[in-house]
Each structure stands twice: as C-alpha cells, then as structure tokens.
C-alpha cells in the first residue's frame, strides 16, 4: 500500500506494475487542437496520472477542467523558475486549474506529469498537482503547480488546454493512467 501511494506521488518509489494501468492516449494531429479531452474515464481506479508533452506558439501555461465545468470553481497555484529567478503565484475562483507548461521553440515540447488523487471520491473536493516544464535553449520555465476543484462529483472527463487560447500543436501527446488502491 505504501508503495502504491508514494509511487503515485512521483517521489521515488514505483507502484507495482499491476497497479498502474494505461487508460487512453490523445495525440494532436496536423492543424493542432485547442483542447485535449479524456472522456468516459472509468471509475475502477483510486488515482489518475496524466503524462504528456505539449508545444504551443507563444503562451505556455496549460489549464485543466473537470467534467466540462467552466464556472469559477477552481483555485490554482504555482512555484516556478524562469532561469533567472524563482516566483510564485495563483488565484482563487478561477475557471480552470493550472496543470502544465509547454515549450515554444521548433521541435521542443514541454513535459508534464499531473496527479489527480481520489478522483472518484464523492465526499471531497478534487485536488491536483503537477510537475511541468518547457525549455527552449535560452528561455522557458520549470513549474510546480497545484489546483482545487470545488466539487464533490466523481471526475469522469478531463480537458487540458492553453489558458490564453493558443493552439496545441501537432505531435503534442497526453496519456492517461489509472492507479489502483486496495
């Protein structure tokens, strides 16, 4: 049990491979996409993890919404480094949680590992956290992010998008994994 929980938090102990399962992958095709969507998420796991790479043209922050809720039911925070200084920020009553970072240089993609704990628990709001970053050989960010969705519903769908409206470019790819409990 300890291995499963700690492994899901990405701090150095892997879950046994029978508890970590691939659910679905979305890869962006030519022309790009405004949103990456995972829908009909099965309720057979305890936690979810999303791993992915993403590129955009200009703006780099990725947002996340659950169950298509676009109301101001999210709070979000970040701690980051831009290569020169460390910074932190966030906001309450937002319309999405922060969930990742893109890269903008040609052929460079940001990397993102997002954890959604207790996603089907109907007794608590949902909390996410992410480790993400994009490096462009001279610019970029590495970021810790967290967010809360003030809703007790089980998570059945997830949307990921660039918060300023940039298109997520071709070859960006996100994979959804489920982590079982006992």
């Amino acid at each position: 049990m300890l291995n499963i929980i700690v492994g899901s938090l990405s701090v150095g102990v892997t879950p046994s491979n029978s508890s970590y399962e691939s659910i679905a992958t979305v890869t962006v095709g030519s022309g790009g996409s405004s949103t990456i969507t995972f829908s009909s998420i099965p309720s057979t796991y305890t936690h979810l993890q999303i791993r992915g790479i993403a590129r955009t043209a200009t703006n780099v922050s990725l947002g996340l919404r659950f169950n298509s809720d676009t109301a101001s039911n999210y709070s979000r925070h970040y701690l980051n480094g831009n290569g020169t200084s460390a910074g932190a920020g966030g906001g309450a009553n937002s319309t999405s949680a922060y969930a990742g970072t893109t890269a903008t240089a040609t052929s460079a993609f940001g990397a993102n590992v997002i954890d959604v704990l207790d996603y089907k628990d109907t007794n608590k709001y949902k909390t996410i956290r992410a480790l993400s970053g994009g490096d462009n050989n001279g610019s970029g960010f590495v970021q810790f992010m967290s967010g809360s969705w003030r809703n007790t519903n089980a998570v059945s769908s997830i949307d990921i998008f660039q918060v300023d409206g940039d298109t997520i470019t071709q070859y960006s790819s996100f994979a959804l994994y489920g982590i079982k409990g006992v």
């Binding site: 150095g12 970590y20 659910i23 980051n80 020169t84 890269a103 993609f109 490096d135």
Partner: protein, 173 residues
C-alpha cells in the same frame, strides 16, 4: 478506452564499488516514457553535479532550466548549449555517509523520432554543502529515439558503492 498494466522495471544497477560511469544500453523501444530513479552518493568529493547524456552525444545539444531551494535561498538558473543534462544541478552528489541524494527523472516520449526529447526531474539531497530540493526541465535537441543513457559525476568524480540506478518503462495505450 484500452487499458493495460505498465510501469515496468527495465534494468537496475547497484554499484558494488565506486564507479565513474553508469550506462544503460540497448534500451527497449516498447515504451512511451522512461523513468530513471537514482539514489546515491559521490565517492570522491563533496558537491558535484551528475551529468546525463543520451546515445553517446556529448555535443553542445543540451539545455535546461531549474528552480531550487537550499535554505534560506530559492533561485533559478539556466544552461544553454551544454554538453550534458544535469542529474542534480546544485552540486547535489555529496559524500556524507548514509545520506544519498535521490533523483527522479521522467524522460518523456523517448522512443519517438519526431520531437526533441524533454526530461523532467525532481531531486532532493538532505546532506552536504548544498542540501536542498530542486526541479529541472531539460531539452536534448535531437529527434532520434533514445537507445542509451550515460550518467557520470562531474569533475572526474565517482559514484559511491551502494548507489542505485533503476530504469522503468511506461507504455501508453
């Protein structure tokens, strides 16, 4: 939606004696991401960086951005056109007995041949001159699939006996 078990151990190296280089070769291309977990110490001098290279490339094709906290300081730094990624940016590999630094490295979409390769790392080291915690995003400007990974200690150092290096594969549906 397809489902299948994954997060599979590929290889482990536990050093029986001090060693300058750890290399994983002939890496299977069956996965989407790799995760490299290291817990180790430096045998030859406190406060050295670990260097990470792919496919034997020691050209100036690497860059990174990092953020770290080493009480009471927080800071961020960048390397451009470097000849390696860092496994622990902040002189992380210490010689303090029984106090390994740990390094958790996500190597994303390593087997595709379309994109440059991005690495996302978390490290923590509670002992030594620069004890602290940090995160790094690194870029290898090469679209080749990653088939080998080499890890060395900077400044001709050596990894101490007992240091462990484990590689996992994660396959997406």
């Amino acid at each position: 939606m397809a489902a299948g078990s994954t997060y599979t151990p590929i290889a482990t190296s536990t050093l029986g004696s001090a060693q300058a280089t750890v290399t994983f070769t002939s890496i299977s291309q069956s996965y989407t991401d790799l995760v490299l977990m290291c817990a180790g110490q430096n045998a030859t001098g406190d406060g050295q960086q670990g260097n990470l290279t792919f496919n034997g490339d020691t050209g100036t094709n690497y860059s990174l951005t990092q953020v770290s906290g080493s009480p009471p300081y927080t800071y961020s730094a960048r390397t451009t056109n470097g000849n390696a990624l860092y496994l622990g940016y902040n002189q992380a590999w210490s010689t303090v007995a029984n106090s390994p630094g740990i390094y958790y490295v996500n190597i994303m979409n390593y087997s595709n041949t379309t994109t440059y390769k991005t690495v996302l790392e978390r490290a923590g080291y509670a002992s030594g001159t620069y004890a602290g915690t940090e995160a790094i995003v690194g870029l290898w400007r090469n679209t080749n699939a990653i088939t080998s990974i080499s890890i060395v200690v900077n400044a001709s150092g050596t990894f101490a006996a007992g240091s462990t290096f484990t590689l996992y594969g994660i396959a997406a549906a």
